[in-house]
């Protein structure tokens, strides 16, 4: 009890209601400390799944800030809300039927042509990605740039929420990465070779031999293995 009193408490406003939270907790832990139980909006708790998108403001600051709740610690006066879901239809496409004609991304998501370069998406991205740049690259058919810039996207959906042109940036980035992987990135020939080798049954003989050995024989083989 004595230790708890020594940790400074900060005011955090969750959907308008004030709570006193020990400083040093992440926003996600803060919500649970305040008594909220997560049924949506929590996933990996490690900054990778994008489920815990949070928007907040600080005291006396008009600027809107964004964060992943599991990765950000509380600050005094934080005024927040969480956005566990973004309504965004994903286009259904068959990867086998797509090609990378220069308007490939425009064909599935023609709303990218509405982009006015306002940069709201970039400003809100909790991963600090160059979102406007990859949408613009998609508009002009530069699949490699779009795939490379959007690589670290966790699909939290905040960009789609803020976009005045109603683009779903993260879906566009996902399609760009898929097209890049299928059509543009150099093929890993050694992987194909290895898979072919397995399929042709080459290692089968050795595996059968190992399976037929006794544990003592295997231990012996292990001790005598070649070490480079």
């Amino acid at each position: 009890m004595a230790e708890k009193n020594q940790i400074p408490l900060v005011s955090v406003f969750i959907m308008g209601k004030e709570y006193k939270i020990p400083s040093g907790l992440t926003l996600m832990k803060a919500m649970e400390y305040a008594g909220y139980r997560y049924t949506r909006g929590a996933g990996c708790r490690a900054g990778f799944c994008g489920a815990c998108a949070t928007i907040y403001r600080l005291k006396n600051d008009y600027k809107l800030k964004s964060a992943l709740a599991c990765q950000t610690t509380v600050a005094d006066g934080m005024y927040l809300v969480q956005l566990p879901f973004t309504p965004a239809n994903k286009q259904k496409y068959d990867m086998e039927k797509l090609n990378i004609a220069h308007n490939a991304l425009l064909k599935e998501y023609p709303e990218i042509a509405r982009c006015i370069s306002c940069n709201s998406c970039t400003k809100v991205c909790p991963q600090e990605l160059k979102v406007m740049d990859y949408v613009q690259a998609s508009l002009r058919g530069d699949i490699e740039k779009a795939a490379t810039l959007s690589f670290d996207c966790v699909q939290c959906g905040l960009c789609a929420f803020r976009c005045p042109a109603e683009i779903t940036q993260y879906h566009v980035g996902q399609l760009a990465r898929r097209l890049y992987g299928k059509f543009v990135a150099p093929k890993a020939i050694h992987t194909e070779d290895a898979v072919n080798k397995v399929n042709s049954g080459a290692p089968r003989a050795e595996i059968s031999k190992l399976k037929s050995m006794s544990p003592a024989e295997i231990k012996d083989l292990y001790k005598k293995r070649p070490i480079e």
Partner: protein, 134 residues
């Protein structure tokens, strides 16, 4: 003949003048803009007639396809003897409709997506969207 402009008509005129920044009454109906417009044959109503309807505050003007077919080529503005910027007035009328949530934008027109989108220059798609016609 006495002619009274309705409340709505007055508001329409005021909005178009505000958005376009043009004085609607400078137009004296010479018809040069309509004569020179390259796409006038596809319009329900010629540009000079559309301006007349705005002058008299006739709400019918909002049902014409004139300002949607407009290609924004600025020829009318270049030819007008009174330097009325007709292109701006057309933009004003488009915006009256768009700002009232009467979207002309039909972004998933199937035929276009399936056939043309792969070969059309991006500039056509972006300008069609900016003018609210697609």
């Amino acid at each position: 003949m006495v002619f009274t402009v309705s409340e709505k008509g007055l508001e329409l005129r005021k909005t178009v003048e505000e958005i376009s920044g043009e004085n609607i009454f400078k137009c004296y109906q010479c018809g040069k803009c309509s004569a020179t417009c390259p796409v006038v044959d596809s319009m329900d109503m010629a540009p000079n007639k559309v301006i007349r309807l705005v002058q008299t505050g006739d709400m019918e003007v909002l049902n014409q396809n004139t300002f949607w077919v407009c290609a924004a080529c600025f020829t009318c503005s270049a030819r007008c003897p009174r330097s009325v910027d007709i292109a701006k007035i057309m933009e004003g009328l488009r915006n009256v409709k768009l700002r009232n949530k009467q979207d002309f934008i039909n972004i998933y027109s199937k035929e276009f997506i399936e056939k043309l989108i792969e070969e059309i220059p991006q500039m056509a798609i972006v300008s069609a969207i900016k003018k609210g016609v697609w």
